[in-house]
Every structure is written in C-alpha cells, then in structure tokens.
C-alpha cells in the first residue's frame, strides 16, 4: 500500500523519527454546549436552532484549538456536533425510526434506532463538520465515522432480517459519505467498528463492508479502523486482510496483556496504539506513557506507529482529557528524540523472540 502517513508529518517536526499523535475522536463537551442543547429543546426558551448551531461552531473551534495546543499532529473537533455514535448517523438516514430509549449500562441510555425500511440517505452526514474543522485548524484533520457493521449491529433490524444485508446497504451509504468527504479534502478517515469486538465471528462481514468502502478511495487517503474492548485474538490475524492502512486499538485499559496477540504472525499494517486509559480519571505520567509507547514498538517499527488514546475521551473531565493528551504528546516527542539518539532498543518480538 502507498505510504499515506508522511503527509501528516508537520513541516517543523523536531525529530527524524515521527510518531504520529492523534485522538480517536470524541472529547468532553464544554458544559455550556450541553446547556445550549437543553435550551434549544425547551419550547419556552428564546434559544433558537441558529443559536445552537453557533454554539456548536464555537465548541468545535474551541476543541480543535485545544487539540492543537496539546501539540497533536492530527486533530479532530472532538465530535462536538454529535450526540452519540450510532444515533447521530441514523438521524440522517431514511428508513428508520426511533422507538425509544434503551439501556447501555446502569442508568445510561441511548435512543436506539429501528430500521423499518430499506435504508437510504439524501443528505451529507459529516461534510459540514469536516469543512468547518479544516477551516479553523492549522493541523491536518481526521474524520471519525461509525462503520456499517456497528451501525447495523447496534440498531434494531425490523426490515432486513439479515445483519449482512443491512450492513452491506449501510456500507454503501458510508461509502457515499466518504466519497463526499474525500471530495471536500479529507485525507485521514477513521472507521469506528467497536461492534466487531462483541461479535468477532463476524470479521468476514466487516471485511466485506470495508471492501465496498475502500474500493473507491484514492490511494493517498489514509484509512484507519478503530476497534476496542474485545478479545483481539479472535480477530487476529484475519483483520490484517482488511483494506485499511492502520488499526487503532484500545490496549492501555488492559495494561497490554493482549499485546502479544499482535506479534505472531507479523503485524503488517500501521498500529495506532492506545497509550492512555479513557475510563480512568488519573492522568498517566509522561514516563508511564513512554513505557506504553515502547509496547507498541514491540509490534511495529517507529515509522508505522501512531500514538493515541484508547478510545474517545468524552467521558473524562475536560481538564483531565487535556492533561492526558498533553502528556501523551510530550511522551511521543521524548521517545522520538531517544530513537534519534539511538537510545531505544526497538526490540520487536518477531525479530528477537525471547
């Protein structure tokens, strides 16, 4: 595959080595944005949709800037315009309805869509979001998009009677959206498929969907796949066949107990390694994150390693999310300097099995 990574190296990057730093996507929303969402839903309020749109623009500008201040090489707007990773997309898809809230865990619910007819889509999902973010960012922008398999698995299917048929149709809609994003200038697209972790036996279906999506994507566009909170041994090495450049994986949460899964057979794609835990409000030290980064270097060489949090940061307090990102970037820069100086033993397990 073409090298899609070098285009994201900042012109003023201080080291020869480059560990691309980025986020998975979501980021804590400013409290005033949540308040604005409540106000616009309140019929007695004078707060209008136009006001809410302005609030979302402000939040996207703010968080994009916050990512840049952390020093991230590739930024996201923190998904300020999205309420939830499945519902957001189905609100823009025809052929579905929202029969009510369902539980995720405890007293956390989401408005789970029900597919009641053939799915279709007449409006862009993320192009406005991308164009706005790219317009305010001084760094390259990544676009996370929920993948068709997760959209299919995490909605109710009342119409298709087959996860496969529904996922294929949704893959065509995701494909159309990615075409629009690429036309708008997006060069780094991350497909989120957390449902793969819950039903790993469906990896072939995920692969088929990705083939439908990747077929039309130009060579210079970087495609990533994010998977989290699962037993990776059940999808590895089969996932290496997927037509993406990079796998973004949660591994810090389990303290890298699954890292060896990826050492045999050889990991042939780029690895975006989760190096901070998003479900723990304690900020990892730079030293700790550096040690985590070295875990990734056991799997891929530095030129194929991306450094990222485990998953979306949205459930953390905002200042904690910021500190985690700032420490993560500092850790990556320090490891790069040590790599430049030849001070890091890049002991890939496949090369030096012990």
């Amino acid at each position: 595959m073409t090298d899609t990574r070098e285009q994201f190296r900042p012109p003023d990057h201080p080291h020869d080595h480059f560990l691309l730093t980025t986020v998975v996507g979501s980021y804590p929303k400013p409290k005033w944005l949540n308040r604005a969402r409540e106000l616009v839903a309140d019929e007695d309020s004078k707060f209008t949709e136009a006001h809410f749109a302005e609030a979302k623009d402000d939040a996207a500008r703010l968080v994009t800037g916050e990512h840049e201040r952390c020093g991230l090489d590739v930024v996201v707007d923190g998904e300020m315009r999205r309420n939830e990773m499945v519902e957001y997309f189905f609100r823009r898809i025809d052929g579905c309805e929202f029969p009510g809230r369902v539980k995720v865990w405890g007293h956390n619910y989401f408005d789970k869509p029900a597919v009641v007819d053939e799915v279709s889509c007449s409006e862009p999902w993320l192009v406005d979001e991308y164009e706005f973010t790219a317009g305010v960012a001084t760094r390259p922008v990544k676009v996370p998009i929920t993948g068709p398999y997760t959209l299919a698995r995490w909605s109710f299917d009342e119409a298709y009677g087959s996860t496969e048929a529904l996922a294929h149709d949704l893959a065509d809609l995701v494909n159309e959206e990615i075409d629009r994003l690429v036309a708008a200038g997006a060069r780094y697209i991350q497909i989120d498929e957390p449902a793969l972790a819950t039903t790993p036996d469906d990896h072939a279906l995920v692969g088929e969907c990705l083939e439908r999506i990747a077929a039309d994507v130009p060579e210079d566009v970087r495609l990533g796949l994010h998977v989290c909170y699962g037993d990776y041994s059940r999808i590895y090495p089969e996932m290496l066949e997927f037509p993406v450049h990079e796998f973004d994986l949660e591994l810090a949460n389990g303290d890298y107990e699954q890292i060896d899964v990826f050492t045999e057979p050889e990991f042939t794609k780029d690895l975006a390694l989760g190096v901070v835990d998003v479900h723990d409000a304690e900020v990892e030290s730079v030293a700790r994150i550096k040690a985590n980064i070295l875990q990734g270097l056991r799997v891929v060489p530095p030129e194929r390693l991306t450094v990222s949090p485990d998953c979306g940061l949205k459930l953390l307090p905002r200042e904690v999310a910021y500190e985690k990102m700032a420490n993560m970037v500092q850790a990556a820069r320090e490891v790069e300097a040590e790599l430049d100086a030849g001070e890091v033993d890049v002991g890939r397990v496949s090369a030096s099995a012990d």
């Binding site: 865990w105 405890g106 299917d157």
Partner: protein, 330 residues
C-alpha cells in the same frame, strides 16, 4: 392436552419516567447502582414502577405475572451484585451485547440474603394470586459464569456454593406457580457443562414446589447439554426460537421434552413486534416435534431490558393474545 401459557422472562426495561427519576437519584456512574440498601426515595420509584409493570401484564392478559426485576441494574448478575460478601468492580460486557454489568467478585461466603424474595413479596401486596405468580432467577451455571470467584478457590466448589446460595433464595420465596431459571451460559459456555452443572440446577429446583423451567438462549442448546437437562430434576426447558429455531426443533424431534417446555419465540433483543400468527407457528412447530406435552410456555427468548418501552408492551400483548387464541390441542 397441551395448555399454552403466556409468560415472560422478566428483567424488564424501566418505564421512561422511572429511567429519568432513577438517573436523577442514582446518577450515571457505577457507584450509584443498586447495593441492596437503597434509600426510601429510590425504593419508592421502584415500587411505583413495579406496580406499573404488574398492571401492564394483567391488562395484557398474560397467564403468569413477574415482578419485572426492575432493580437488576446488573442483569442476571444482580443477586450477587447486592450481596454483602461480593465486591462490585469495573464494567464488563454482558454476553455479546452492547450492554455492561459490574464485575461481581465473590470474596467471602455466599449466604442467602432474601433480596429476590423481598421483591417478589410485592406481588402479593399487589394482589397477584399465587397461581399467577412467576419468579425469575439466574440459573446457577450462568450466575457462576458471570461472576469471579475470589473465595472458594475451585470451579466445582464455586458452582456448588452459587447453587446453594440460589437454593436459599428460592426457599425464601413466597408461593409462586412457576420459577424460570435463566441459563444463557448453558449455550454460550456449553463446553463447561458437566454433571456438576446439572447437579447445581437440581439443587436449586429442589428448593421449591413450583414448576421449574430452565430457560436457555443466545442460540440453540448443544445436543449433549440438552441431553443432560432432560435428566435434570426440572419440569421443563426453554429454547431460543429466535436465534436457534431450527436447532431447537431438531433437539425436540430427536430427544423429546419434559412435560413442559418454553418456546422463546418473541425477540427480546429486536424491536420488531411479532404477530400472534408467528408466535403460534413456533409453538405449533415445537408441539409437532414432541407430541402432546402438558404445558407450552410462550415467552420471549431473552430477558427484555434491551427493548424500548412501547415495543416491549406490544410484545407482551402479542404473547397474551397468542395464548388466548391458540386452541388447546389434544
């Protein structure tokens, strides 16, 4: 004569008003989930919500009424999650769902604490007669599978302790007509099912005079596991006709059935509302394979907490209508 009895598997979704009220009172983090010693305000919400779902079942015309297991924040792991000698840890995935429960870690002896009996006593307070009452509990194999043992030190000892604990819970129940033991792990962890697993089920079933149905789901049972269940001292086995219809029918044709069986023909995890004709078709297909049995329970395949409230209610009505309109067969 085969009687068709409409009932449910419990673990209901909370009414929407109760979702909001409890989120306000208990918060959104795992520290706020049920502990077994909830305060008066939280208890009041659950009492009102329980009365509502009991009314719903009676209004729909179901033949058995459950208390709804609305307090079961941790789904089938609930009876351990509220136990004094169990620590609750991080959030872990519940089977292959996008749902999570608190890791339940048993750190000391499991003695019966009557948590389930207390909720079921409310059915009597709501004037549900004993012949219409149904209790729902996790089966011992599934509960042990969902939990982590940090006290007993051996799989066999742990399963036995969990069974003993559940038997104590069952013995404390008020009079009920039927006990459903939900045992999805018999499907998902079939490899571990041995004599000890069926002995554990027997131990729990022995603790009551009620009819006991071991209800299984997330697919059809493995043939060997079903063979063991046929030897268990229970009144019936429940089968998943949504995710394992063909496999279940083969088992019934090949090995027969107890005098009772449950047909899980309504999808607990899909919002599409089944018609009475569909449910009847599943039940009749089962009866065709086994010949006349005493009782066929018409049920959802899984617990029902995955559904939005409106669809959940419609499914209960469809089950009741099916039982009312299906002729008793000779």
């Amino acid at each position: 004569m085969t009687a068709f009895v409409a009932t449910t598997t419990g673990v209901y979704p909370l009414p929407d008003w109760a979702k909001d009220a409890l989120a306000d009172l208990k918060g959104h983090q795992r520290g706020g989930l049920v502990s077994g010693d909830e305060g008066a305000e939280v208890t009041d919400v659950y009492d009102r919500a329980r009365a509502e779902v009991v009314d719903l079942q009676r209004d729909a015309g179901l033949d058995r009424v459950v208390e709804g297991q609305l307090r079961w924040d941790d789904m089938l792991a609930h009876p351990l999650a509220v136990h004094d000698n169990v620590e609750t840890g991080g959030i872990v995935r519940y089977y292959d769902n996008n749902n999570f429960y608190r890791d339940v870690r048993v750190v000391d002896e499991l003695t019966a604490d009557g948590d389930v009996a207390a909720d079921l006593a409310a059915l009597a307070d709501l004037d549900v007669v004993p012949e219409a009452r149904q209790a729902v509990l996790p089966g011992p194999y599934s509960l042990a599978d969902l939990a982590t043992d940090a006290h007993y030190g051996g799989e066999g000892d742990f399963l036995e302790a969990v069974a003993e604990f559940l038997a104590g819970e069952v013995a404390a129940l008020p009079e009920v007509a039927t006990l459903f033991l939900l045992e999805p792990s018999l499907v998902t962890a079939a490899d571990g099912v041995d004599d000890a697993a069926t002995a554990a089920i027997d131990r729990v079933a022995d603790a009551t005079d009620a009819d006991v149905v071991v209800h299984t789901y997330w697919g059809a049972l493995d043939e060997a596991v079903y063979g063991r269940l046929l030897d268990a001292a229970v009144d019936g086995v429940g089968h998943d006709f949504v995710h394992g219809r063909e496999g279940s029918l083969e088992l019934l044709a090949e090995h027969g059935s107890h005098d009772q069986l449950a047909v899980g023909a309504v999808a607990g995890r899909n919002s599409r509302v089944e018609s009475p004709a569909e449910i009847r078709d599943a039940a009749e297909a089962a009866v065709e394979r086994v010949g006349a049995v005493e009782t066929v329970y018409l049920t959802p395949n899984t617990e029902l907490c995955y559904l939005p409230v409106g669809r959940f209610e419609a499914k209960l009505r469809a089950l009741a209508e099916t039982a009312q309109t299906t002729e008793v067969t000779a």
